[in-house]
Amino acid sequence: MFQLNEVQVGNILFINKLHIPDKRITCIMGESGGGKSTLIKLLNNFIPYDHGKITYNGEDLQLIDPILLRRNVVMVSQVPVMFEGTVQDNLLIGLTFSEKSTPKVEKLQKILSIVCLPKELDVDAEELSGGEKQRLSLARALLMEPEVYIFDEPTSALDEELEDKVMGNIIEEIKRREKTLIMVTHSKKLAATFGEVIVHLKGGKITKVREVTTNG
């Protein structure tokens, strides 16, 4: 899916070679300041890079329309951002931004149940707690049905029990859709439970890439 060759971003990130496979769950781990967020922001062309080549499905990233790329490679940042309006407005805003059609209410409710957010659609989004906002922003991305999901610390505001349940549901849904997930996480447990490819970063360099063989 993604192939990085000799990619450099300032003095933050140096990737000699990295392949992120299609339809798998890739976890990016490592200490803070190690370049994890920088790495994933390269994948949706959110930040520029100084050297090297990145390809998406074999195509040079620099030749792909960045807006169209981001509609196929949807990123959810670590800090959830709510837009003015209700839960429903915030769910739909991704589709509005990417100029896609609006789904039925039942679908919105189904997505909310996947992320374990039992809220009415007409609740003001600003009234939600940090953890609830985080789940809403994950739901927003799921609703967009992209090819690739990129999550930056998707469960940082959730307790362990909820983390397991929410990520279990989301990954089940992504697997069902046969899509790709790339996520940055601090949680060893999350990576051990769901990770199929584990990339370790330290000081902006890849120290280890481990592929977990699965039975399915």
């Binding site: 959110f46 960045p66 807006i67 981001r70 951002v81 837009f83 805003i93 927003r140």
Partner: protein, 262 residues
């Protein structure tokens, strides 16, 4: 009654009593603004005396090249003033956009006003051109400066929202729409508001001047109404050009938000 009273030296000196009054108030209250007051008074006096002589010369020796020179000087000071008024450092691209908007917006409005509305012949008649250009450029300067400030503030205050929207596949245009509209609104609002109080709360400077100079108040208001409409148009034109082009300076060619303006 129709004779204009020329102010003599003693009469002028009597007017400076107001400054002396302010000076004593500052002294008595212990507010250390005497230096600024002194400099401002001197500057105002010298600048106006100079302008008076320049205008008197230009009215007698009207030439198109003089007018072109004047307009260049006016634009230069107005644009420089915008750069200085905005607190954040401005990128080269943003500065270029300010220059383009100011020059094309004001020139378009000025020429429309001179040629179509007032129908001055020749168009470079200093008596009309200089005051009209001055008012239009001056008001646009204030408008654009406000617009720049609001756009820059908006872009950085809303950074998290802009970045989230970009991650969700929005175009820079969609992302900036609200901020662009708010900047435009903030920039033109003072001009719109100034029309509301006009004639009741205050008499505009141009009209007051014309009346003092012996012109009929009815002619003076004709000019005042026309120039006010011209100013609204000129401010709107320069500001809309600026905000429509200006938001683009915050994004790279790859639709990435620029963390720093440079």
């Amino acid at each position: 009654m129709d004779e204009i009273i020329e102010l003599g030296l003693w009469q002028m000196a009597a007017a400076y009593v107001f400054i002396v009054l302010l000076y004593f108030i500052l002294k008595a209250r212990g507010i250390s603004r005497e230096k600024e007051l002194f400099i401002a008074t001197i500057r105002m006096t010298l600048q106006l005396v100079l302008v008076g002589y320049i205008l008197a010369y230009l009215f007698d020796n009207n030439h198109v090249l003089w007018i072109i020179l004047i307009i260049i000087v006016m634009q230069f000071f107005a644009i420089d003033n915008i750069f200085k008024r905005v607190k954040q450092p401005l990128s080269k691209k943003l500065k270029q956009i300010i220059i383009i908007s100011m020059v094309t917006g004001t020139l378009g409005s000025i020429f429309y006003f001179i040629i179509v509305v007032v129908q001055v012949t020749p168009w470079y008649d200093a008596r009309y051109f200089i005051p009209i250009a001055g008012m239009m450029i001056g008001n646009s300067m204030t408008g654009v400066a406000l617009g720049v400030q609001r756009l820059v503030d908006g872009m950085y205050d809303q950074r998290a929202h802009i970045e989230t929207a970009l991650m969700l596949g929005a175009t820079p245009k969609t992302v900036s729409k609200k901020i662009v509209n708010q900047a435009f609104d903030a920039a033109i609002l003072p001009t719109i508001n100034s029309m509301v109080g006009m004639g009741i709360v205050f008499l505009p400077g141009m009209m007051t001047g014309q009346i003092l100079a012996g012109l009929s108040p009815l002619t003076a208001i004709q000019y005042q109404i026309a120039i006010m409409l011209g100013i609204v148009g000129c401010v709107s034109l320069t500001v809309i050009m600026f905000v429509q082009l200006g938001y683009k300076a915050f994004f790279t060619e790859r639709s990435q938000f620029k963390a720093k303006l440079n």
